[in-house]
Symmetry: C2
C-alpha cells in the first residue's frame, strides 16, 4: 500500500489519482488545512483517508502500517505565510518530516518520495540552476523547511538505510490549485474586473510545470532511478514571466479593458525569489518528457481555474 | 553586549575567553548538558551566565535584551548520538536555532554568528570541498540539523533582514574537549593500557583545526566580512588520518607496546564520514592564517588532553 501525506491537497490529490490509475492501493493522511475532501470524492471508498495532523505522532505511526512507499507531500503551501507566522514551516515542514521518518523507522518502511521545491535555491547565481548548485541560501522560511526536510531524509538513509526520491519542484500549476499567482490573479479579477494588481514589477520569472506532468515525473523517477538518494529538479526547462501570466489571465477572462497595475520592486514580497529557472537535464536523461512547456501550462491552468472559480 | 550560546562548552568557552580578551561584555546561555561551569570560572563575575535550555523560549527571549551579536554555538556535540536517539539534533539543533532567531526578531538583534560543520557535506565527491559544493547529502542527523540551522538563518535574513556569519568547522580540537576521537582514544588507553581499539579501518581522514585558531577565525570573519550572509569553511587546508591520531596518542602517552586494533570497515559508525577535507581558500583570502596545521594541532591537543585526563 502507498501512503500519500497531503493527499487531499492540490498536488497530492493528483498523485492519488495517478497511483489509483496504476492499480495501487492508497492511504491518504491529510489535516485538511488546505486539502479538500472533494478532491478525493471521485474515488468513493477505494482510497483510505485518515484525517490527522503529521504532528500527531501516534496516529502517523499507525498510518504507516503495511506501507511500501511514503509519498510525502504535506506542507504549508503558502510561501508568503512565513513573513507573518514564523513557526508554521518549521512545524508543518521540518517537524512533520521528522515524524514521518521516525514512524517509517518504527514500521520498517524503507522508501520515501519527497516533494521539495525550487525555493531552496534562493537567489541562485547559476541559471538554469542544476541540482549541484550551492551554497543553498534560501530567502523564505518555506524554502528553509524544504531543505531541512531534504537533509533529514538523506541523513536518515545514511544512518538507518532505505531509499529516497527527492523532487525539487518548479512552480506546479493546474486544476484544484488552492494558492499561487494564477489563483490570486483570478480571484482579484473576479473582485475588481477593471484592474489587476501585480505584486512587484512583474518581471519575476519562474519555471512552471503542469500538475499532471509533475505527478507523472515523480512516479517515473521512482520506477526508473534506484540510488539510495535520487535527487532531481522537476520542471519544463523554460520560464514564464509574471507579466505574461497577468496578460494570459486577462485574455482568458470575459473582461476587456482591464488595467494591469504593478506595485513595483523586483520581488512580490519579502522571501519572493525574482527569478527561478531549473535545469532539468537530469530528469530528461531518465527518459521523461514533459507534455507542455511553461506558457502552455499556464494557459491551460488559467482556463481550468477560471472554470472552477467562475470568471466567465 | 555579546551573547554566546553554549558558552560553557568546549568551543564556546574559548570564544568567551577571546571576546573578553577583546574587552567585550559577554553573556552566556548554556544548559550545562555538556558545558561545564569550571570552563568559565576564571572569569569570576565578569561574564554573565544564564543556565537555560534553548527550548525554553521565554528565558531565551529575556537573554536577548541588549545584545549586539549572537554567537550561536550550542548544539548536541556528539554526532554518534543520532544513531540511537533521533530527536536530539532536531530539538537541540534546528528547533533551538529557531528560538534564537525568533528571540532576535522580537528584540531587534540583527547579527548572528553560527557554528556549522563539515558534517553538512556528507560524503562529498569534491576534495578539498568548497563552500559552493552541492548537493548537500549529509549522512548524520547532526549534519542535517546543522544545514537546517544554516538555511533557517539565511531565510530569516531574506525575510526580516540582519546579518549572518556561518562558519563550517573542520574537526575542532584542543583543551577542554569533551568528546571526539582524541578524547575517546585517551580514555580508552587509560582504561586498557596495552591496547587501543580504533572504530573503522583507521583510514578515515579529516581536517583538524585548533580551538584557538577556530575562535580567532570566527572573530576575524565577523570583523572583516560584511555581506548579508557570510559563509566560510574554517580549517587548515590539510588532513590527518585516524591511524596517525592513534599513533600520536600512543607516542605521547607513558605507555609502550600498545597494540592498535582496528574494528574494520571504512567508517567508525553509521553516519561517520570516512573523509572530510575542507577547501579554506575563501578564509585565507580574508587575510586569516591558521597558526598550526592538522597534525601539529592534533599533537598539541593530545598533550593538553593527556594532562587534563591524567594519562602520564
Amino acid at each position: 500500500m502507498e501512503l500519500v501525506t497531503g493527499g487531499a491537497g492540490f498536488i497530492g490529490s493528483h498523485l492519488v489519482d495517478a497511483l489509483v490509475g496504476k492499480g495501487k492501493k492508497v492511504r491518504v493522511i491529510d489535516n485538511f488545512s488546505s486539502g479538500r475532501m472533494e478532491f478525493l470524492s471521485h474515488h468513493n471508498n477505494n482510497v483510505e483517508i485518515i484525517e490527522c495532523d503529521l504532528l500527531d505522532f501516534e496516529n502517523v505511526n499507525k498510518a504507516m502500517e503495511g506501507i511500501e512507499t511514503v509519498h510525502h507531500l504535506a506542507a504549508n503551501p503558502d510561501i508568503r505565510l512565513g513573513t507573518e507566522v514564523t513557526d508554521t514551516d518549521l512545524k508543518q515542514g521540518t517537524f512533520a518530516t521528522y515524524n514521518i521518518l521516525e514512524a517509517m523507522r518504527k514500521n520498517n518502511v524503507k522508501n520515501i518520495s519527497f516533494a521539495s521545491s525550487s525555493a531552496i535555491y534562493g537567489e541562485a547565481e547559476e541559471m538554469p540552476t542544476t541540482e549541484k548548485y550551492g551554497p543553498l541560501l534560501p530567502i523564505s522560511l518555506y524554502g528553509a523547511s524544504k531543505i531541512a526536510s531534504e537533509v533529514l531524509i538523506t541523513a536518515w538513509i545514511g544512518t538507518f538505510g532505505g531509499k529516497a526520491w527527492i523532487h525539487r519542484f518548479a512552480n506546479i500549476v493546474g486544476p484544484r490549485g488552492t494558492h499561487g499567482v494564477i489563483f490570486d490573479f483570478i480571484h482579484k479579477l473576479k473582485k475588481t474586473p477593471d484592474r489587476l494588481e501585480v505584486l512587484g514589477d512583474g518581471f519575476q520569472e519562474k519555471s512552471y510545470m503542469s500538475v499532471g506532468d509533475c505527478v507523472n515525473s515523480m512516479l517515473h523517477l521512482i520506477e526508473n532511478t534506484n540510488n539510495d538518494v535520487n535527487l532531481f529538479n522537476l520542471g519544463t526547462g523554460d520560464t514564464c514571466s509574471v507579466r505574461r501570466i497577468a496578460e494570459i489571465v486577462v485574455e482568458e477572462s470575459k473582461f476587456r479593458n482591464v488595467k494591469i497595475e504593478y506595485t513595483g520592486g523586483k520581488r512580490g514580497w519579502a522571501g519572493d525569489v525574482p527569478k527561478t529557472f531549473l535545469n532539468v537535464d537530469e530528469l530528461l536523461k531518465t527518459g521523461f518528457e514533459p507534455t507542455r512547456m511553461s506558457e502552455e501550462t499556464i494557459r491551460d491552468c488559467v482556463i481550468d481555474l477560471i472554470d472552477e472559480i467562475g470568471l466567465r
